[in-house]
Symmetry: C2
Subunit: 270 residues, 2 copies
């Protein structure tokens, strides 16, 4: 199924805008997994199996795997999600970006090697750098627009002809790059006004929203400012607050409770 259809279906079926970020950090794993050679896979798979009916997407962050030489675990994790939870799309959070034939190799990495349904990419190099991704109408292409960190302002808020760069980026992508209807944008929860401005510019283009919880983004403001008219349109990402909700052998059950609470608190404002 195409990513956008799959995302729409998950929003409806699971009544959820929660995207769980899979950012394994072995130092935070429960004690019983610490000496397990396959801990990265087992930890993430347990989180997934405990939360799959509560989410609209999973978002493994590739640096967390690469720093551990755990590409094999990432491959198996995504295969596990497809096999056991085929209704939940997988976003590879990689923020890639390069030109021509190299971009094509990143496409191969994300979609063939890892079998992701969508990937995050960086728009700084321009449309031709995104084109090999955009051409995959079956896959989601989630472009950075206004990120959740304080330094987002350094480039993204620069004034371009009377408005900030990120608005220009949002409009360019929604209007010109989205010919296959497979684009989405990253807009951080820590900037709720900017989120509303992006929503106003891009129609129903989905927004991937990191930055609630530890980074301080407010759920109510995100939902009110970012949802589409039908109450969907958002993938609200949470990683640490769900993954490390529990410290013991019941960590997956604790993650389920945290995911459920987040889903419910989001749904209060949908």
């Amino acid at each position: 199924m195409h990513f956008m259809q799959s995302l729409q279906a998950a929003w409806q079926r699971h009544h959820s805008l929660v995207c769980v970020g899979l950012d394994p950090e072995p130092a935070k794993f429960p004690a019983h997994l610490r000496n397990d050679a396959d801990a990265v896979f087992k930890f993430c798979a347990a989180i997934v199996d405990a939360t799959a009916d509560l989410v609209c997407a999973y978002k493994p962050q590739i640096a967390h795997f690469a720093a551990l030489r755990a590409e094999g675990a990432l491959e198996r994790l995504i295969a596990h999600i497809h096999e056991h939870h085929p209704t939940v799309p997988v976003i590879l959070d990689a923020k890639r970006g390069d030109i021509g034939s190299t971009a094509q190799h990143y496409v191969t990495e994300a979609f063939e090697r890892y079998g992701a349904d969508a990937v995050t990419i960086n728009p700084y190099m321009g449309r031709d750098s995104a084109q090999p991704f955009l051409d995959r109408a079956d896959k989601g292409v989630i472009l950075l627009c206004h990120t959740s960190n304080p330094g987002a302002a350094d480039l993204q808020d620069l004034d371009v002809g009377g408005r900030p760069l990120y608005q220009r980026v949002a409009e360019m992508i929604a209007r010109d790059w989205n010919t296959h209807g497979n684009c989405a944008l990253v807009t951080g929860a820590t900037w709720p006004e900017q989120l509303a401005e992006v929503r106003a510019l891009v129609g129903d283009v989905p927004l991937l929203v990191p930055g609630i919880g530890a980074q301080g983004g407010d759920v109510e403001a995100v939902v009110r400012n970012g949802r589409t008219a039908d109450g969907n349109g958002l993938m609200i990402s949470s990683s640490r607050a769900i993954l490390y909700a529990g410290q013991g052998e019941d960590f997956a059950a604790a993650a389920r409770i945290a995911a459920q609470e987040l889903r419910d608190s989001i749904n209060r404002y949908r």
Copy 2:
């Protein structure tokens, strides 16, 4: 040795501004390597061994390895360069960019796992996203400024307060981000005027220049517009024209000739 010292020494010792891009594409390998399970490593190592006295840096492009599940070959290749050609620094061309703890994992990937001396990164997310890289005073941080592709114009040429974004980026990095003197910038050979403008803004900050050869960049214009007063300051990158100069068992000798010709043609204008 720190990347910047190592680069300076290689410019002098090898009298060369050539950076060889290591972009393995098995379909282009000579026939005798095609069925070799370790072809990626063997091909790249042979190129390196044949050219190490002619270059100022090597630049393996990580997507080419990732698309082939060849992270192990990349690790061994960089270790091979350090062991056999310790005077030549290695730039991991990864164009990474993310925030906070995730950026730290990319730092671990580039510098601990792969042992690279420098890495390319994307500045769109702002200074705090670059900070974990910048803090590594011993490593080079090579930031995208004005890339070689036609789409570079989409964002990088947008007018920000009377001048293009890439100039603002160049100045911001040279003035504010480069506190450890470990920054360099990517400026494409296909835009020689922009290269001159960047050089004028950033003093002696080294420029990594892709886009000569297949992409059409002119060597004379690049050297005249990009060199520093001492005739250095550039890492002029070439991949395909060197790697695939020969098709037979003598491919490494052919690569040596191509690298030597490029070095000499650059040195004519230094």
